[in-house]
Symmetry: C2
Subunit: 318 residues, 2 copies
Amino acid sequence: MSETDLVVVGVDVGGTNIEVGSVDERHHVLQRAKAATPEGGPENVIRVITELVGSLDAHPIAVGVGIPGVVHEGRALTVPNLTGWTENVDLIGPLSGQLGVPVTLGNDANVGLLGEWIAGAARGGRNVLGLWMGTGIGGGLILDGRPYVGSRGAAGEIGHVIVLAGGALCTCGRRGCAEAYAGRRSMRGVATSMVDAGWKTSLFTIRDDEGKTKLTSKVWAEALDDEDQLAEKLFDTAIETLGIAIGSTNNLLDLDRVVIGGGLAEKLGQDLADRLFSAAKPWMLQHNPDLKFVVSELGDDAGVVGAAALARAAVITS
Amino acid sequence: MSETDLVVVGVDVGGTNIEVGSVDERHHVLQRAKAATPEGGPENVIRVITELVGSLDAHPIAVGVGIPGVVHEGRALTVPNLTGWTENVDLIGPLSGQLGVPVTLGNDANVGLLGEWIAGAARGGRNVLGLWMGTGIGGGLILDGRPYVGSRGAAGEIGHVIVLAGGALCTCGRRGCAEAYAGRRSMRGVATSMVDAGWKTSLFTIRDDEGKTKLTSKVWAEALDDEDQLAEKLFDTAIETLGIAIGSTNNLLDLDRVVIGGGLAEKLGQDLADRLFSAAKPWMLQHNPDLKFVVSELGDDAGVVGAAALARAAVITS
């Protein structure tokens, strides 16, 4: 077998874009491609994935796919952030039919942590929490040196650890989840109402200048860099709240590594990890003296590298 | 080898009593002995354990010990509920010297769940939370079909999952832990202040009639049976709070079993487990349809059976 025979392709299906990459045995991304995530349900997503994989030079031996939903026994049980998806969708059957190679499916947050664990900031960690700050707050776990996904693939939901029962209404419908304070979607809602109430902020001006429709991590990073007071107030609250959720998680799981990912982690770097550690410490009953908080090393590639690693592991163990 | 050669002894060191039992290969307790937990530090505890083990008919091939503290690499790192203990105590060296057999050490809550998992209500569970309602709230975890103790043996602290950040002051010094609302020590404090403020309750009368000094689980069970309003109010709050902590834990770990133990579980039975499930459900993002809430089957024996299982496993794998 020549070396190119051992290339796998990782696919990261996000709410906005689908990114694919061919990945070699050393977990290096050889080539990338991306397209907007189509609306209208799984068939359209399958079509775009097939086109993107076909656009790469490599002929992969397998394809791994991370999706923003709960994956159990190869099926997408729920995919709340994509429009037009029903429950319990079979992606593997149609995709492997189209692509002609084995396809493996995982949850995007779990797959992202797998990427960091195999080739990034979680390397060497035995009990790791991955926390992705984005539109929502995603999470993944490595426990006792193995990826942990729980009974039905739904583990790792650090965004829905309750920090203040009965507190802020979360987009999940419960009151007091970490995500209700720290997810960008929720933060934008609060920012909007504070502006309505007369607060000044550069957040929406920066958004317009950047030609964005949402308060992206880039918009937040610029506003924080400008020392925008409203942005700082919301961000401080997000850090404080995530610190509580991480503290609770550490009391349950006695971690040795926390990896912070998402756009803000890329833009703010280790300072973000340090701030979260400071916010979490007061809530920890005790902590492993070797506990480290670090930011993602792979950035946007984590999902692609992790999905590829998932596919590679499935080929090896099958 | 005759059958008696394969007996191990389990030791459950509690804040009040030390219980020991000889346990056969089918995890049945053959004989029990107990004594009050001595004050004054580890030397006295080692002496009482040695006496108790010596009082049993069996000549065990190994001894397992569960203690109310953090155990890492065979040492007791912290033992907060026993007086006279320093940090980082070696129990195994002196105990195995005294007893002449291998000694294995574990945390009491983890060991209790191990007992339930090997021979009780957690049998067959793959991702299990054990929650012990007592003076404090203890916890243990089985994850991916293996006991999980975390990086330094400190995992499972469901009592110190934050349910209401900044809320009630917990005996650990933090504000808003589940234990601050649901641990008997904290509940007694609130009951006392409510009585001072004019509330009527039979809790303290029952306590005196029973000749107890503390509000034991028996006292609580009787007051609840009498439909004592103050007891019901405090108990409802405890259930509600534990429901939130279990909900958060399920969102992180996607469990398939929750086992409730401690004196109240023995006295209230499955009704307690059902009430906790109802309280937890609203906080679960989703739950495994096979998720079950059950009460301990081994009761007081869980610690002894689990400690014996720990010792047996160590002998087999050494």
